[in-house]
């Protein structure tokens, strides 16, 4: 049984390689396409130098379209940032914020995207004001619902209410699967151990997360176990992570159009030890989701102090897992090695 849900990659996943120039845009797109992850999401200003301050060059945009066509891919989302703190000491005025979002809508359309991703820190009124322009350009603006937020948080409810009131279907949500973190990620634990957290404390924090102990109690207990600096920091991660329930997406499916397949680590046997993708895929299928789950590898920043991340291998493993969960019969595999 195959699924209406499609696979994609956010090129954010390859950031460690692209930052260093080890992978070109073509490498990123080809790699994703070979894995059958044909939906391509980008952070516009990561992929296109100049955006937004001095604009993306036509040649670069032409190259993008050439590569998308060559590898039979589909542009999915341009993730924009809206730097409303551009001016030191004063926030960007409302109308300028709206104009900035319109600019990103146009850029998304120029790249052939269906969606642009907004951060939750942007006021819903700004997005509502930009919605008519998005409708004209055939773009939907999706706010990313990301830990520590969740679908029952008042700030997200406020967005949902503003979206309903606007009457526009150009406004929606992009849930980041990190909000469903059900176990403390092993790569986080290992990094905290390298930073000097005593083994007993690290074990305790992992267990406490599993037991859903409230963060403030965990922080106190770690202090009483003699924890300092990095041990406290390890305990404090619990303030910002919570194992919310994937089924809480169901009330919002009509506005959920794209998914960030956040992951911190894929093991050799294709398991993400901390995010419940089996349950996530079931819920998305139950909700009739037909969009893309785009790989979003974020383990890089947790291991880079000890080893060079291998983002392509990590994405490959997640795509193998996703293909399995989606009932695909073919196992995604790479044909072209990346020159190291």
């Amino acid at each position: 049984m195959s699924s209406a849900i499609k696979r994609g990659v956010s090129l954010y996943s390859y950031q460690n390689e692209t930052f260093q120039g080890k992978m070109s845009l073509e490498d990123c797109i080809r790699t994703s396409a070979e894995l059958g992850a044909r939906g391509i999401e980008i952070i516009g200003e990561q992929t296109f130098w100049g955006w937004p301050e001095y604009g993306a060059a036509d040649a670069d945009v032409d190259n993008w379209h050439r590569l998308i066509a060559q590898y039979d891919c589909v542009p999915v989302s341009h993730d924009f940032m809206l730097d409303y703190k551009r001016y030191k000491g004063r926030e960007m005025p409302f109308e300028e914020q709206v104009a900035s979002v319109r600019n990103d809508i146009d850029f998304g359309a120029r790249l052939g995207m269906k969606y642009i991703r907004a951060l939750v820190s942007i006021a819903p009124e700004v997005l509502v004001a930009a919605a008519p322009h998005a409708e004209e350009r055939g773009i939907k603006i999706l706010i990313e619902v990301h830990a520590p937020l969740h679908f029952d948080h008042p700030w997200i409810i406020r967005h949902a209410e503003a979206f309903e009131k606007s009457g526009s279907d150009a406004l929606g949500f992009l849930p980041d699967m990190g909000m469903f973190l059900f176990a403390f990620p092993p790569v986080w634990k290992e990094r905290f151990l390298r930073l000097g957290v005593p083994q007993a404390i690290a074990d305790y924090v992992v267990k406490a997360y599993e037991d859903r102990v409230l963060s403030e109690y965990v922080i106190l207990n770690v202090q009483q176990m003699g924890g300092t600096g990095p041990a406290i920091a390890m305990a404090e991660t619990l303030r910002h992570n919570a194992a919310f329930e994937p089924k809480r997406m169901l009330d919002h499916m009509s506005r959920i159009h794209n998914i960030h397949g956040k992951f911190y680590q894929m093991t050799e046997d294709y398991v993400e030890p901390s995010i419940p993708y089996d349950e996530i895929v079931k819920v998305l299928q139950q909700g009739g989701f037909q969009g893309y789950i785009c790989s979003e590898y974020e383990g890089n920043r947790w291991i880079e102090d000890a080893e060079e991340p291998n983002s392509v291998e990590q994405v490959r493993r997640q795509q193998v897992m996703l293909a399995r969960l989606l009932g695909e019969t073919e196992v995604p595999s790479l044909k072209t090695p990346i020159a190291a």
Binding site: Y12, Q46, Y54, R86
Partner: protein
């Protein structure tokens, strides 16, 4: 993230009136220059004055004060900017360089500073 890749290895050079090296923003995206609040360079334990620092990218050079109101240029993702310090110059040989950047990120409720320290050699 990318903290340990901020200073580009082997990039230390002498320039007229000082020295330079190549630096990258430790971030998964770039930033408009007005959002770079400070760049602090430390050489062998000595902090260099803010006034001595210049930031150069794609042929344009700025003081740190000037950067604060530059709205038409960026430090792009992974882009190697030239960080110039007009301190009168360094002696040839190895120097411990610390490169710290404070940048204003709209969605963060605080202003992070990230730094990298590397030993770089200046050719005689």
């Amino acid at each position: 993230m990318m903290d340990n890749k901020m200073i580009v290895e082997g990039s230390l050079q002498s320039v007229e009136g000082g020295f330079s090296f190549l630096g990258r923003l430790p971030y998964y995206r770039g930033l408009g220059l007005s959002m770079i609040e400070d760049i602090q360079v430390t050489v062998d334990g000595t902090v260099q004055p803010r006034e001595a620092v210049r930031f150069a990218v794609r042929g344009r050079t700025y003081t740190l004060d000037e950067m604060e109101t530059v709205y038409d240029n960026r430090w792009n993702f992974g882009e190697k900017a030239t960080i110039i310090v007009l301190n009168g110059g360094l002696t040839p040989g190895a120097h411990a360089i610390t490169f710290a950047v404070r940048y204003r990120v709209s969605y963060l409720p605080f202003v992070p500073t990230t730094k990298d320290t590397k030993e770089l050699a200046l050719a005689a």
